[in-house]
């Protein structure tokens, strides 16, 4: 089932055309690797899907219905979540507190609302178990490895029962062993029927998990093909423009 369809999306910032007539679709349980050089339009595209920007022209269908998001909250309510590289976690809070931030489970004592930590720890533990991650709910995030931090960030999307998860550079700046951990998390999301878009510069990581690869160059979609029918060499050539289109 096509969960997300982008039809002829264009976006201009003044005279600059950041996206030019991009059409792309995404199925549940599919991992799409979105690639392109800096300034190719990846971030703009993600921000349009997430409701940060509004497209200049074109339409978005989500679950076969036309949608228009004016702010990120609206996209989130529908089930589209973005995990940003640096903007996701508060280091001084526990994993569970981070997952439940703004959605804390509370107990009412008259007028006073108390955070129900034991319930939050329990639910967070289940989420980490689902993700097959060894992250401890009551541990502070600053004590954690890069892989565990990604598990916490992705854990937030599990809580909201997201149907589409957009990951912005999930494997940048972490060690090789942790990359494996993060890629495993992505596979777990896929197995649970969630559509994943991964934006990354790291070719091997993208090829390790993606079903399909889409390449943007100067705002135009120059490739959208199955990962097994492509190769890192071809994608590199597409990004740089050595190959015009594939």
């Amino acid at each position: 089932m096509e969960i997300l369809e982008l039809n002829n999306i264009s976006k201009s910032f003044g005279a600059i055309k950041a996206l030019d007539n991009v059409s792309l679709s995404l199925r549940s349980g599919e991992v799409l690797g979105l690639m392109g050089d800096n300034g190719a339009g990846k971030s703009t595209l993600i921000k349009i899907i997430a409701g940060n920007f509004k497209q200049s022209s074109g339409t978005i269908n989500f679950e076969n219905q036309k949608v228009e998001f004016s702010k990120p909250m609206e996209a989130r309510d529908k089930g589209i979540e973005v995990v940003y590289q640096d903007l996701a976690l508060c280091d001084n809070l526990t994993a569970a507190s981070n997952i439940f931030l703004t959605r804390e489970i509370k107990r009412n004592f008259g007028l006073i609302k108390i955070i129900n930590f034991s319930e939050m720890f329990k639910r967070a533990k289940d989420i980490f178990k689902d993700l097959k991650s060894e992250t401890l709910p009551d541990e502070e995030v600053k004590m954690m490895s890069g892989g565990q931090r990604q598990a916490v960030a992705i854990g937030r999307t599990k809580l909201s029962k997201a149907k589409v998860v957009l990951l912005d550079e999930p494997t940048a700046a972490i060690s090789v062993r942790q990359v494996a951990e993060v890629l495993e998390l992505i596979k777990q999301l896929k197995n649970q029927g969630i559509a994943v878009v991964i934006i990354s510069h790291r070719m091997p990581d993208v090829f390790a998990v993606s079903d399909r690869i889409a390449v943007l160059r100067r705002g135009q979609l120059v490739a959208n093909k199955l990962a097994k029918e492509s190769s890192p060499e071809e994608v590199t050539a597409l990004i740089t423009g050595a190959i015009e289109k594939a």
């Binding site: 609302k113 108390i114 401890l136 009551d138």
Partner: protein
């Protein structure tokens, strides 16, 4: 892996309490030092006196802990206390307001002042250090101008006994402070509002991105210090039976020193109410003990300056290094 993480976890719990335990030990050492070197330090009367001054400082130090945690600062609290007390007395003496309505007006003033500092920070992007520095000068200056530097006396025995005296052997202000401590301690640990202070201090961008109203959280923290400065102003009047423009001189220093000695980081994100409570007692005990040693009050300030410097050194080098340092690579 799990065992390893558990082990790591145990260590973390120890480290996060390390500062409070260390401070408690320092407190006991200082207590012993003054007790054995002076005659009148280890007396019930003197302890009551220490508790009293720790309580006035504490009432403002608890909200100040939240302010520092959200990466802001409020240095206007000393003059704010003096002006609030004076305003309270002026309303009663010059404008014939009742004690109750005067107190209500002064408390409202405190809330509005904090709101103003918060709005200046979040909407006009003026650092709180600058706004409160301006207020620090303006409030003290205006207080001196209005009174021509002379205290304005009031006489009301009930008011003095009720809010300036003792209840069950402890100063009234200490009971109020302990009540405030429980509220702030509870808020910091078990409420969404408390969690939001830590979240905003930990990563403001993430907090905003996740959907926390960062501006509102900061404004709320800043209302806290101004509100409690107003309350302490009224309680000071009850103690000394007058409004005085020179009251609470240097109090902002004692408050911030107590919070920092208590383990709150000036850079935000880290801090506990228990630590702040211990910090207040520590600062009050040192000030008191130095007086018993017969050290000049001006030199007393020098010693306090050294203590706050050492506290920050310990804070940022020992506690920070073992307890923080961002994401860890394994």
């Amino acid at each position: 892996m799990t065992e390893q993480t558990l082990e790591k976890n145990k260590k973390k719990i120890k480290i996060s309490n390390l500062h409070e335990i260390g401070l408690l030990i320092a407190l006991i050492l200082v207590l012993l030092l003054f007790s054995f070197t002076t005659e009148n330090f280890f007396t019930q009367r003197n302890f009551t006196s220490i508790l009293r001054s720790a309580s006035y400082v504490g009432l403002i130090a608890f909200p100040m802990t939240f302010v520092l945690i959200t990466r802001e600062i409020d240095i206007s609290v000393g003059p704010s206390v003096a002006w609030s007390g004076l305003f309270f007395v002026i309303l009663i003496k010059w404008y014939d307001f009742s004690y109750f309505s005067s107190a209500a007006i002064v408390i409202l003033w405190g809330i509005l002042l904090g709101y103003f500092i918060g709005i200046a920070r979040t909407k006009l992007f003026i650092p709180t250090f600058i706004t409160t520095l301006a207020l620090w000068s303006a409030l003290r200056g205006y207080s001196l101008f209005v009174t021509e530097g002379r205290p304005i006396a009031i006489s009301n025995k009930e008011f003095r006994y009720l809010f300036g005296g003792d209840i069950l052997g402890l100063p009234t202000v200490t009971w109020i402070m302990l009540g405030a401590f429980l509220v702030f301690w509870f808020a910091s640990k078990y409420t969404v509002t408390g969690t939001n202070f830590y979240a905003v201090g930990g990563n403001p961008k993430a907090a905003r991105n996740i959907g926390i109203n960062v501006d509102r959280v900061k404004i709320l923290a800043l209302i806290g210090t101004s509100l409690f400065a107003a309350i302490v102003g009224i309680l000071f009047v009850a103690r000394v039976s007058s409004g005085n423009a020179n009251l609470a001189d240097g109090m902002e220093f004692d408050v911030i020193a107590a919070v920092v000695v208590g383990g709150t980081a000036l850079g935000g994100a880290v801090g506990t109410m228990t630590g702040t409570l211990l910090g207040c007692v520590f600062i009050a005990m040192i000030s008191n003990g130095l007086i018993h040693w017969g050290i000049d009050p001006d030199l007393n300030k020098v010693v306090k300056g050294i203590i706050i410097f050492l506290a920050v050194v310990i804070n940022s080098n020992v506690t920070f290094k073992s307890n923080s340092g961002g994401p860890k690579e394994d």
